[in-house]
Symmetry: D3
Subunit: 227 residues, 6 copies
Amino acid sequence: MYELGVVYRNIQRADRATADALAALGSATVHEAMGRVGLMKPYMRPIYPGAQVSGTAVTVLLHPGDNWMMHVAAEQIQPGDIVVAAITADCSDGYFGDLLGTSFQARGARALVIDAGVRDVKELTRMNFPVWSKCISAKGCIKETIGSVNIPVVCAGMIVHPGDVIVADDDGVVCVPAALAAKTLATALAREANEGAKRDKLASGVLGLDMYRMREPLAAKGLRYID
Amino acid sequence: MYELGVVYRNIQRADRATADALAALGSATVHEAMGRVGLMKPYMRPIYPGAQVSGTAVTVLLHPGDNWMMHVAAEQIQPGDIVVAAITADCSDGYFGDLLGTSFQARGARALVIDAGVRDVKELTRMNFPVWSKCISAKGCIKETIGSVNIPVVCAGMIVHPGDVIVADDDGVVCVPAALAAKTLATALAREANEGAKRDKLASGVLGLDMYRMREPLAAKGLRYID
Amino acid sequence: MYELGVVYRNIQRADRATADALAALGSATVHEAMGRVGLMKPYMRPIYPGAQVSGTAVTVLLHPGDNWMMHVAAEQIQPGDIVVAAITADCSDGYFGDLLGTSFQARGARALVIDAGVRDVKELTRMNFPVWSKCISAKGCIKETIGSVNIPVVCAGMIVHPGDVIVADDDGVVCVPAALAAKTLATALAREANEGAKRDKLASGVLGLDMYRMREPLAAKGLRYID
Amino acid sequence: MYELGVVYRNIQRADRATADALAALGSATVHEAMGRVGLMKPYMRPIYPGAQVSGTAVTVLLHPGDNWMMHVAAEQIQPGDIVVAAITADCSDGYFGDLLGTSFQARGARALVIDAGVRDVKELTRMNFPVWSKCISAKGCIKETIGSVNIPVVCAGMIVHPGDVIVADDDGVVCVPAALAAKTLATALAREANEGAKRDKLASGVLGLDMYRMREPLAAKGLRYID
Amino acid sequence: MYELGVVYRNIQRADRATADALAALGSATVHEAMGRVGLMKPYMRPIYPGAQVSGTAVTVLLHPGDNWMMHVAAEQIQPGDIVVAAITADCSDGYFGDLLGTSFQARGARALVIDAGVRDVKELTRMNFPVWSKCISAKGCIKETIGSVNIPVVCAGMIVHPGDVIVADDDGVVCVPAALAAKTLATALAREANEGAKRDKLASGVLGLDMYRMREPLAAKGLRYID
Amino acid sequence: MYELGVVYRNIQRADRATADALAALGSATVHEAMGRVGLMKPYMRPIYPGAQVSGTAVTVLLHPGDNWMMHVAAEQIQPGDIVVAAITADCSDGYFGDLLGTSFQARGARALVIDAGVRDVKELTRMNFPVWSKCISAKGCIKETIGSVNIPVVCAGMIVHPGDVIVADDDGVVCVPAALAAKTLATALAREANEGAKRDKLASGVLGLDMYRMREPLAAKGLRYID
């Protein structure tokens, strides 16, 4: 069992090359490759469109209205990490702004994923530091209560262990357990390999009904056509 | 009565020229022209700003987490159609991505309106295929259960019959029953005809209070001014 | 006590120079300078990104589905004002579009803040007239029931008195009571004065833990590190 | 096409005996008997537990914050009816209280189903007049705008035609199209007929896995057991 | 202007007899008597049905996840008060349980109205201490940050000044400004005086259409009947 | 790593006596004893008031609209278990009714905790089988897709491992990791031991300010009193 009020300094990060390679595949393909699990709730939205990243998770558990542990988490960041922040209760406060963004970016973080609010979004956009969050809020936080860094957390409905791979883009945020990263990458690459051919066929007007041979199973289920 | 588990192939589409002409008027004007009805719930949002379309509805009713019928619907699309997708229960899954988008576009569809989630939004934006949806989600679907195509559906609180006209832009999505399309177009055009003159007057500083002669009815209702 | 069904014509606006100066500081800094109060609920979002304004509040209280008082409020606008609209019950209707926007802009209004819906957002964006609202909806309103102008209102959870300063940007909307505007400006400027130095330090890799001398108080609270 | 601003006086009600017989089966069984469609959204809740009713729909479409048409609808009620009220936009106002409840009850209405708020719930409970609603709110309405009675409406996501059968209990509200009522009743009765035997088996410890012979299809789908 | 971080000890409570008399009228009648304003958002629900109270407001503003000021507020309670608690940001934590309930009750408080969560609801029900809250949550709070007592607060969308009258029952929570209490009571009593006669008429089958003479104005608005 | 599509038959349940003893303490006290963590989101509500249970978790992960795995889970129930059901995406369908309730009860289950909907609540109440759920819905499910039993799941925002202790009552649902059950019980009992004395003091009018010696720390934080 992990403890609370503790910073775990030595975490086992997923293989760097694997973690990096998952970004290009995107959250939808990675989610499919995992067997349609691993996706955070769809209320998690990027503060600006177009960002597409992957990285290894540094996790932090904070209390409502208190962002003290963000500074503690900053020290644990290594280049290629993505910070995943969970709160012990629903909270819409702005836990993170451009100063923390500057610090995270200086430490090598690629993004923040937070199940709460964020602020200074204009500046963070200008800095090209992407954040996926539940909401945007100018409301600041206090620094009174300790939390924990690098324990397993539940962020937007998904369990994230420190060192897991996070893949985030305009479609959402997926967590790939470190132990499954290599296999997921392989499956995702295979899945994507024949997407181009499929796309060409569909673009030429071939129907999915024919390309995927769906007519027979649909009829078997009882689908009828009426003119 | 229509049946379930059925694809109705012969639907009566609204007059093409009328359907096409409604796009330029926009959802707000069309909604007013109908007597302030016909609007889907405002949680329906475009995946990118600026798209403004109209077209004839091909409807599809799907089950939660199951997008099999999207492929069945694709075959029923004719150029100028907009697919309207309803789900039998609240669901946030991503029912539609760039492959289906490619297929729909190849068939001549102008847009998708779906009371659920959509994914591959970066690619769909690049393809210039607009989608109005309840949310964005990377979560994929299974293909196990049959639904129905071209039956009346309730999408985001609005009844849509196959062949009705859909008008969608940044303000939302309106459904115009096919039988009312011509009359709605006429009313909307009349409504818009004098908007330019009104706008010029207001821009010059004339008050709506005076332009619309509201001072007397307001006083009659009891409005008082206190200095 | 103020009365209902009344338009208060003579309101005490906050000092113009102070009201104008607050825009540059942004909602997050102003909210902090006030002691972390004054922020409207984070569901209030701008219809387009990048706008950053401040101004003096003209308030209006409307009934659900009825925007008649918008025209009454227009007459009370002076250059530099921001109209703050509250509804007596939750409503998502589109109370405001490009015609009213033209009128407001002609009167010198800088923005609208409304705890309801807005429409014609493409046109309002083109006009560069920013609106912060709860939602976007093409649904129009009737003009049947009188409300009140320039009484204290609760908008998105925050009390706003006529003449208060409104600060709004991508992070949200803050209300600064007129009597606190000068003090808030001074505090906010002081707060921002040393942000540049902090940002430089953080960008160079110095940790907030050290810059803010947090290590000792964290240890005192019981934070432990485990390798 | 039906018209707006109109009261349709002659509606075709579903067969009385069939409509009455559906109450005893309950919303869950009736919904299953229809092929798992027809259920209003689950936010529709009874104001007190235990009520279980069925009846023929008298429909009414109202505007936000305006309950004038409730009085118009009252006149169209016949004994055995259930009034189904829809609003043209989301609204939480209390459209209905004990006075209207007294009137509806005197006319023979069995219940109200409303996609908005209701008030005087203590009194309505005492009167034994059940209401299924979106919320409870003391907020009253104005009487300014006409709507329509006995046109098809969308209530809580479900299309209801005048004369359809409504079945409501603690599990929710189902609409059975009049043309399907007899068939639905037959299917529902058949469905319920062997529920007692199933319940006895399950109560004795027999597993659904065995009773429904699920082990083989589960294995065929790939389900594995690990000790 | 009031200050933050302060407890105002001397507040002007509304007249006791007036405050007490409003309970019997209920939130719906009082809300109408005020001109259909004053109602908190309908998400405020009682923890058990049937309670109906009125009293004078002691207000408290707390921070998310921090209930320290509840103890400070307890000291300011006088017999006949109702504590109204607002939070500076959305929070679902359980700020109040049976121990605080015991203390409040011992001080003479009649109820708590809180725009956040409450816990120990079984015990509070047993104690007959009613609470109207946004939600129920077992989550406890810290005691780290000071707030304010007896300043104006916004609770569930409604401004409440210390000393105002709160009326709460199964239909919701209304705030009556102290200066309007006497007039509101008079209006509410007059309103209720002829409710009995109306109810008898409606119970006998007379329609509201006739009792309120609505047929003519409805026709004037264009309502038509179709057989 | 655990696998998907698998039923883990041999799980390590928390000590029975410890698991059973936690019920009497209730969710609020247990949550505090764990350090204010472990609570599911407050939208989880009991289908009837008054139930207070604890037990060991059998977990099940299902797909939206598909309750097939409920039958698989039933076989894994041992007396004293509570089934914890999570869905791979947000879903409001009714996954569980009186037949499954009969089966679960026959197997010795004490309750169901499900992050989705439940139906037949009147019958389940009569059977005295408590369910904590996100909503109530008559909508039934299909049986097409396999899920997993006894893997770690996230239910209403909380991670639950098979064998953990679940404590549920009117205040909500708490998960106590099996490894922490004994320590949590000890802490909770100690916490409760002096609640009676505290309650008596508070009931006699002693203030928490004095009983907890809060006056000095509040003053140190800057709290001021103004007459």
